[in-house]
């Protein structure tokens, strides 16, 4: 651990104090046991379990976050931001008064493109949701706070994805999941604290570094769930080894380590605890990950077992089970592999978004409903969005290019005041003009709901006390 990083990882002074903290003070050991205070050959000073749950410094409304990440950039004008004028002006160049935008591919001469989507007002709040998300609209509108005035700094996937996750347009900074785990620890002792469930269709431009802990210690790294029946790496015994044999081997390991133990070396104890925890994960985690015992009604709610919702439904249901067990941050990715298999509708926005929404509408609605009826929505903040929105102008006739100057995201649960729309883009959806909120402001709001102070959640790196919000963000006050 960095010598300056005392704010969130207090050094324990004495052996007695260490034992108290490790065994009692934090209510037992959690998933990842302990971290040696010293890198490599340091002193025996030990930091009590860095993943032990920590009380947030400020009043908290949410305990966990589920991020429904719509990779590739869903169109705001096709989803949550209706623009009648765009339809009227379809086929014409953008009127000058709307200002300029830099796109990745299309030129400034491109023509505006209307949408075929229809919008409907849902719930008591009357939030407008397009016909891409009928279930979400009908069942969840009053839970959702739609921010129509989001913006970011990059119009390129990789850079925008890094900014969405880490607040920087270059890789290397920790993702929000890692920051939050760093700030709050984990409440589960048999599951990882920060889980990413990628889309089985494959990679995204941001790649692995997008989700990573960056310059934070490895203990805050994401656990990538594999799109197989055995999502967690190394959780299964090697072929041909029985659980009984493994118990025998672990017992031998304990005894051998114990005979050679130096009474003053706490890290040795920590390492032996790590083996116990690993064994517990091995036996307990698979139960949480097993969906076969879920009631049919729940599976139906998420669309598990039927296409095209089966895959995203499974992952949303697993996300619910994880937060129920105290997992801090779960990212459920929609979209992966070639651009066409993400929300990146360059060629044909109709075809792309109809397909992507058909896979996600029911699972997302099911998730919100399920969280609510289980009383989990109050403590679980759900965030929906992509790395940017899409251009009001057409690309290749009926597609849309990337667009970072104004787009929509929504939040629900976790103390967010649902049933409202905040901010606005201009009449064609080009620029956020009313109360623009940067991605950093979204980060700030998430931290705020979790009881974390963006200015205090810092880690020293290359001479600067870095934070998720880079310089500073604003809480989106309307929704908290």
């Amino acid at each position: 651990m960095h010598p300056d990083a005392h704010e969130h990882a207090r050094l324990t002074r004495t052996r007695r104090e260490f034992l108290r903290d490790a065994c009692c003070g934090f209510g037992g050991l959690a998933f990842a046991a302990m971290l040696n205070a010293q890198s490599l050959r340091g002193a025996p000073a030990v930091v009590a379990n860095p993943l032990a749950p920590k009380l947030p410094p400020l009043p908290a409304k949410a305990k966990s976050v589920i991020f429904l990440f719509m990779a590739g950039g869903p169109s705001h004008v096709e989803t949550f931001d209706p623009k009648p004028l765009l339809n009227e002006l379809s086929g014409q160049p953008r009127p000058k008064e709307f200002g300029e935008a830099k796109y990745q591919f299309i030129q400034s001469t491109a023509k505006l493109l209307g949408t075929k989507r229809t919008f409907k007002k849902y719930g008591q709040s009357g939030i407008e949701v397009s016909d891409l998300f009928p279930r979400l609209g009908a069942n969840c509108a009053d839970e959702m706070a739609v921010i129509r005035s989001c913006y970011g700094n990059s119009v390129v996937h990789s850079a925008a994805q890094y900014e969405l996750f880490s607040g920087r347009v270059v890789p290397g900074a920790p993702s929000m999941g890692s920051w939050i785990t760093y700030g709050l620890g984990s409440e589960s002792d048999s599951l990882p604290s920060y889980v990413v469930m990628p889309d089985p269709d494959g990679a995204l431009p941001g790649g692995q570094p997008m989700y990573s802990q960056g310059f934070l210690p490895a203990i805050y790294q994401p656990t990538m769930f594999r799109p197989t029946a055995k999502p967690v790496l190394n959780l299964d015994l090697p072929p041909g080894v029985s659980l009984k044999e493994r118990r025998e081997a672990l017992d031998l390991l304990h005894h051998l380590n114990e005979t050679a133990r130096d009474a003053h070396d706490e890290e040795f104890s920590a390492r032996m605890n790590a083996y116990d925890l690993a064994f517990r994960m091995q036996t307990e985690a698979p139960e949480v990950l097993d969906l076969s015992k879920e009631p049919q009604e729940t599976l139906d709610l998420y669309g598990v077992g039927v296409e095209p919702t089966n895959d995203y439904g499974r992952r949303c249901l697993m996300a619910r089970k994880l937060v129920e067990k105290g997992v801090r941050f779960v990212c459920v990715v929609s979209g992966g592999g070639s651009g066409k298999l993400t929300w990146d509708g360059h060629d044909d926005i109709e075809e792309n978004h109809l397909r992507m929404a058909s896979q996600t509408d029911q699972p997302m609605a099911g998730l919100l409903q399920d969280l609510k009826r289980r009383g989990l929505l109050d403590s679980t903040l759900v965030l929906w969005g992509g790395e940017f929105g899409r251009s009001p102008e057409a690309e290749s006739g009926k597609g849309r290019d990337h667009h970072n100057l104004g787009f929509s995201m929504w939040l629900a649960g976790g103390g967010v005041k649902g049933g409202q729309v905040v901010g606005a883009t201009d009449a064609i959806g080009l620029q956020a003009i009313d109360r623009p909120y940067h991605l950093r402001d979204v980060h700030t709001t998430i931290l705020n709901q979790l009881g974390l102070d963006q200015n205090k959640l810092t880690y020293p790196h290359l001479g600067r006390n870095e934070r998720l919000t880079f310089v500073e963000g604003k809480v989106i006050k309307e929704i908290v």
């Binding site: 010598p3 002193a43 996937h157 190394n234 959780l235 081997a249 051998l256």
Partner: protein
Amino acid sequence: MVAVFAAAFFPAPVRAAAAADEEGLKFFHDRIEPVLQRECYECHSSQAKKLKAGLHLDSKAGMLAGGESGAALAPGDGQSLILQALRHENNLEMPPDRPQLAPDIIADFEQWVKRGAPDSRVDAPPPPLDPKRDPAQARLTFWAFQPVKKPELPAVKDAGWAAGNPIDRFVLAKLEEHGLKPAPAASRTELVRRVYLDVTGLPPSPEEVQAFLADSAPDAYEKLVNRLLANPHYGEQMARDWLDVVRYAESEGFEYDRHLPEAWRFRDYVINAFNRDKPFDRFLTEQLAGDEIAPGDPECEAAAVFHRLGTVRRNAGNLEIAVSRNEVLIERTDLIRASMLGLTMGCARCHDHKFDPILQKDYYRLQAYLSETQENDILLVSAEEKKDGETRTKAITDQMRKVRKAKDAAEGEEKKKLDGELDALEDQLPPYPATIPGIKDDPAQRTEIHVLKRGDWEKKGDLVAPRPPSVLVSDDLPELPADTPNPRAQLAKWLTDPKHPLTPRVAVNRIWQHHFGAGLVRTTNDFGQNGERPSHPELLDWLAYQFVASGWSQKAVHRAILLSNTYRQSSQNEQAEAAANADPENRLVWHVARRRLAAEEIRDSMLAISGQLNAKIGGPSVMIPVDPDLTKFLYKPSQWSVTKDQAEFNRRSIYLMAKRNLHLPFMETFDQPDLLSSCGRRESSTHAPQALEMMNGKLANDEATALAARLTREAGADHGKVVDRAYWLVTGRAPTTEERRLSLAYLQDQPLKEFALVMFNLNAFLYAP
């Protein structure tokens, strides 16, 4: 900066006019000052509880000097920052979190600035100068900027312990000062294992341990140290540290994560430099400016790959090249600062450093040394060979296309046969022509380097030219001309000046960290105000002094440390309880704490012990087979093209492909850094996924199987001999009676492979003593 500019541009007349502008002064007093007091002083004045952005608005001098974003006021300039902030322009909003001030107030301010900003606050105090932020003052006072002096050896009580080695004198003096004693000497069994692992990254074989134990000559240990420093594995082990520092990777990151197929030449360059003990000043110079000082020299060309090791965003579409250029220059210069200078200046990208006497201008002046540096891919084959290769490639790919077409139409056996044909054709493809990812100076493409306001590429400030940071050079040193020839060689010359206060200190501190787990300054990349103060400043200076005097020999420093009694202490000290209370972090080195092996050391040691290690040195990087789930999440899964020769899979870890978007899970779990920014010091964590990796992971189980086979081969069926051999191989010592008893009981009814796996999970294996 803007203030200086403005003052120069609006000379005396404006001020004279302002002085005489009675009406203007009244206007200020009535309309401006009350607003400043009411709206701004809370955060921007000498009375502020917490001054924001370093900006004082309670004096004209403060407004002109400005804060982090530059001058707040330029008299006469309607774009003065204070006006922009009041008008909510360019993302500036003042006062913050409140409605914008009334339009008539803003109009008053505009009018006031326009008439030259007359200011009646004659008695206002000038903003106080913070000594921490004044380069001239820091140059004289801050420890790290003082010249390295050869310190006097301190007096000690226990002269015997510290007789042989000045290092021990410095360490002992501090211990005695705190009423502590050093730990007793480590046993010879512990010492031999420690020194092998530290110097080569590999454990000693049982025979090597026994040879050392049997050598009763008084200089047995010294001979061993000399032998290990001459062992080629020394270079591999020490290269690892430097590769971390320079965030070495062989792919460019971002979406394409394009490979740099010949970047391994840089890795080999580093290994060779350590093995040949290349003088460190030369080592730095070749990396910074190899292409300038010896154009065409393969070794220097490989060294200069240094500049190409960072992440690069290569996007299609109509984006500005200049933006990516700016990103690359930032990344490259930041690396030089962290790795060589030991002075991170990240904050100064956007504003004068808050804690360090680093001016924003200094940040960009250092960048200016790289303004002409451009990519230069150096072809390693002749033009004919390249052309020939391209022709052959085309012929084969054309053929493959045809076969693929046929395959789409085929079924069953025929399809299989065509698949085989495709594989055969693919094997015939000539390798991509070898190309070193080099650099060169290209004056025609020189980037103009501006100070960027708030670090924003679109907000260009003053033009700057190369110059070292103000805190390290005298005030009257001018900038070099922007078109100065061989700019990087000039930077290298300054950095490696024998009198440089930082370079040698930073270098020896990294060596100390290698052997003791923590540097004398633990923030190895940051010797500035934000970094730590040294635990033993005189010792640091002594090492730095000797280092330069020895001709910048790293081996000399290693040797001095390894031969010290400080290094030879046991990990256990009978006063541990008292010592831990007095110095819980072992800053005084009252013992040598055990260290967990690094990811590479664990893997390499398992390979060596199981007898599988392929100890070949150097050459292209190896891609080992990985879980398909990992390659599936690459932009192009085919990028991970598994090395054909299976014998290569068991090479040392330093030869495994370092790909930014695919980290090997084993390595990552054991704290390998992220390859994205300079890592001066690895974490050493202890957590359950490591236990899962070592008990259930494929690597550990494969090596346990191989070790079990080796044990059977070498010790036969006699469990007593098996247990003895296993302990000697894995921990470098015989088992104790209790260990033997437990092991024998286990082996009665449990598989040998599981026993071998347990051995690899012992603390006695995972930690260097």
